[in-house]
């Protein structure tokens, strides 16, 4: 399958284009938060695909870039709130690194809405759902990501 799936959608059903979001969620807070959204049956758009990482500090900017290259329209990284990191200080590194990376992305022409770093705790199912909604709305507005996408 080397065809862009979203193209297929548009042609096959004539449905609107749907953005694709890759989300890296830390195991202890945000992944649990997304689980809670599920347990609480909080609905949100189905555009997000989650990858579990032990800590947001495990997220190498390269992974984010790779996602964009492969055609993701948006990337979300979520971890525990600063100060609450399961690994004490991990998310401080995340913050520092990814802020820098975000600036770089913007420098090369990415809209800020395409890459979001958000703190979502294990009890914030609602916040997770809202974050996804917000991102999807933003991305729909922007349209497909074409800057580095190879697909």
């Amino acid at each position: 399958m080397s065809v862009n799936e979203s193209d297929v959608v548009t042609t096959a059903e004539g449905a609107a284009w749907e953005p694709k979001i890759v989300a890296f969620l830390c195991n202890w807070c945000s992944y649990a938060g997304a689980d809670l959204a599920g347990v609480s049956r909080i609905k949100y758009p189905a555009n997000v695909r989650i990858i579990r990482v032990p800590c947001s500090s495990r997220v190498n900017p390269q992974f984010v870039f790779r996602a964009f290259e492969r055609g993701a329209d948006g990337v979300l990284v979520a971890g525990c709130h600063p100060g609450d990191c399961h690994y004490v200080t991990g998310n401080y590194y995340t913050r520092r690194r990814l802020t820098l990376f975000k600036r770089l992305l913007e420098y090369v022409g990415f809209e800020p809405e395409r890459f979001i770093v958000r703190w979502v705790s294990a009890s914030e199912g609602q916040r997770f759902a809202e974050t996804v909604k917000e991102m999807v709305d933003g991305l729909k507005h922007l349209g497909p990501q074409k800057r580095v996408s190879r697909v």
């Binding site: 399958m1 799936e5 059903e13 449905a15 749907e18 694709k20 890759v22 195991n27 992944y31 649990a32 997304a34 689980d35 959204a37 599920g38 347990v39 049956r41 909080i42 609905k43 949100y44 758009p45 189905a46 555009n47 695909r49 989650i50 990858i51 579990r52 990482v53 032990p54 800590c55 500090s57 495990r58 997220v59 190498n60 900017p61 390269q62 992974f63 790779r66 996602a67 492969r70 055609g71 993701a72 399961h86 690994y87 004490v88 200080t89 991990g90 590194y93 690194r97 759902a129 697909v151």
Partner: protein, 663 residues
Amino acid sequence: MPRIGVFVCWCGSNIGGVLDCPAIAQEAASFPGVVYSTEYKYVCSDPGQKLIVDAVKEHRLERVVVASCSPRLHEETFRQVLRRSGLNPYFFEMANLREHCSWVHPDTTVREQAQRKAVDLVRRAVAKAARLEPLFPGKIPVVRRCLVIGGGIAGIQTALDVADAGLEVLLVEREPTIGGNMVKLDKTFPTLDCSACISTPKMVAVAQHPNIRLYTYAQVEEVTGYIGNFKARIRQKARYVDHSKCNGCGTCWTRCPVTVPDDFNLGLGERGAIYIPFPQAVPNKPVIDLEHCRRSTRGKCGACAKLCPTGAIDYEQKDEFVDVEVGAIIVATGYGLFPWEKVYGEYGYGRFRDVITGLMFERMVNASGPTGGKIQRPSSGKEPKTVVFIQCVGSRDEARGKEYCSRFCCMYTAKHAHQILEKIPGSEVYVFYIDVRTFGKGYEEFYRRVRDEGAVYIRGRVSKVYQDGSKLIVRGADTLLGEQVEIAADMVVLATGAVPAAGAADVARMIGIPQDKDGFFQEAHPKLRPVETHTGGVYLAGTCQGPKDIPDTVSQASGAAAKVCGLLLRDELETNPLVSKVNEALCTGCLACQPVCPYRAIQPVTITERLPGQPPRERVVARVNEGLCQGCGACTVACRAGAIDLKGFTNKQLIAEVDALCL
């Protein structure tokens, strides 16, 4: 490519009611590496598990993917299934179709999208599964011995608890006696039982316990190693008295010609140059304070040596070092008092003799203290009739003191107010406070009782104390009335707050535990791991973690002891296999990874490299201590050379997941 099996779970209608599970299974069958794919109503049920075990055999599966609920729920369940099937339990991956898909996208209007998402999630899991490696938890042996640093009530309690569990304990106290601050107290709130009566039996128990080795007048100077396997060096300071000979007869300390202010009594009394801190000291044997000993200051005396019936005095004694191996460390170094006399000029900088601290008051009311229990003005020895207490001295003062509340001073002030009213008929007691904090069981009731007895609480902080003839004039305000108040007092008692014990920073550095903004040792989690530190095998007990009263101190001490027993009663420790590993061939030795590790798990090591055709070469590389690494992965991103990878979440796996999702 390993042979992968996929099991799609319906979870009854939880998943099956929204997603077309057979279709997912069918599509999964076409993913690279998948040799078997099926669906089942409840995969976690017994027949569901059996389905996996059988399929592994029948289809010679090497990796298993279950597409069901959250791995936070059942990952461990299925790993055990793999173990039973004869596979490495880490050859398992899950796709979360329930929490992340069917439950959040139930509407028929988004059915299509949900179904596509589910397929994507399974594809991701399969992609990761294809790249899984077998992992094996490491084993480290455990030294069944515990080091306790600090012999206050926290250290005593924790040492006794651990020793009672049959484990060996080394208790190191830097003063000549154990007991800490608690033995200086007279009575303890809110029940007013005598502090010495409840603490000295425990001190004796420590001295006599067959599993406890007590080092007093000693200090830990170096700690290396990691959980289960620490090495520590203890310095036994010279006492100039050979305790193996001394029988504690007391001849020496009663006859020493020197008198110096006695620090145990906070300068309210005196002692000799050879002394025991207080009559029930443990050990009950003296030390010589060489700084004041006449033999060393003037070159002559030697009275103690002459009088000692056992010949225990040894002016030539030297410090000694003891190297020990322990499996766990409990830090219980306690607290000191806020140095108010350096800060509060408005209270006289310590110039007025009748302005004393709460701890001095404790010594004063103590029947075995320097005044024999008589409450008296230090200036005149007369009984004070009007006593003013000032709370929060040094605490809750972000400008010149500490921002935090010291927790026990409200209660000890109430206790002192009670003692004045009880012992001095016709006395007047005024307490200046900001808030009164009585959080413990029976505390509020005690506070109320003290007010009933006549203590007048005035809400407001005292602005100034000055001497006026024989009186101390205390100027404050009653903020509830909005009026200034001036009290002519005979004695003023300051409720000085707690600060970390002197030298806490050195202890923190030596063991490698962080301090909080105020210098207290940082617990691993303020609520859920209050006795642990971020360093495996190192635990906290008592006020070294933050101000607390005796009940809380003792609970925490027992908590720390339980943790230590839980650790040391195992033969070996199983390490988490999901840790980082340095590829030494790639590592440049830059050590960029080292500072990001919150657990100080990364250390440089020198390796000898033998490349074919070249002479052996020494090179520094980073090495991860698997006993310390917790598997956060922060270091992997810090390494520019890409030399560190995190097992179970490798770069390769994560990239494959990204690719699978973006297909």
